[in-house]
Symmetry: C2
């Protein structure tokens, strides 16, 4: 799995890692039971610190995407472990609302916005995601 980091981005490295791994899960490149690389290995591959990778793994664990075993390392959870619960729903709303607001200010219509979202999902489906 290829992960590209942008060290200039205002998005923290550990969050870029979280996003990349979630993308891997969404596109089925990472399947339930698959093991992520050890923190030291991935850190070395990406040229970042071990603790930065660890922070990303902890995040993914907290979000329910992986489980962490002492020796096996980080393992992708089964689909059932990842639900669209109220917490996620709330987070989604909190993220989407400001985007919708600014879109309206910039006279991007509801339909244009929905079309854009639709295209994003289509792209993910092309990569293997089941939408």
């Amino acid at each position: 799995m290829f992960i590209e980091l942008d060290f200039e981005s205002d998005i923290p490295i550990y969050m870029q890692l979280v996003h990349a791994i979630i993308e891997g899960i969404a596109t089925r490149e990472l399947k339930p039971g698959d093991e992520l690389p050890p923190v030291r290995t991935l850190a070395a591959d990406l040229g970042v610190n071990m603790l930065t990778v660890n922070k990303a793994y902890q995040h993914l664990k907290q979000l329910g995407f992986i489980q962490i075993h002492r020796k096996k390392g980080a393992v992708i959870n089964s689909d059932e472990m990842r639900q669209a619960d109220d917490e996620f729903y709330e987070r989604l709303l909190t993220s989407l609302r400001p985007l919708a607001m600014e879109s309206i200010c910039r006279r991007l219509t509801k339909n244009q916005f929905l079309t854009l979202c639709s295209k994003i999902f289509d792209e993910i489906e092309l990569k293997g995601g089941k939408c």
Copy 2:
């Protein structure tokens, strides 16, 4: 215009302010030509520092939502000043993609996601937004 801040949120206060004012513009509560309160006044009303409000205004200026005059203060720009340019489009994509990815992981379907977005726009329209 009523602004509620969450001092516990992980979203910086100045960004919450930016969002609140953009929401005001989207819902037409703030119209082109309207003046925002002086930084000192708004800061005192909200119980935050002057520089925090100033930071929010600078952001809004950089995003093209307001213009700042020495004596008149911050004035809402005309609609034409706020376009859905490439920069915004890119920012929108960068924000939406991770949300779509995580949604798919949590088996929220494309249609469910689009329905949620649609509802958000409907709510904004109820408040006066033209979508």
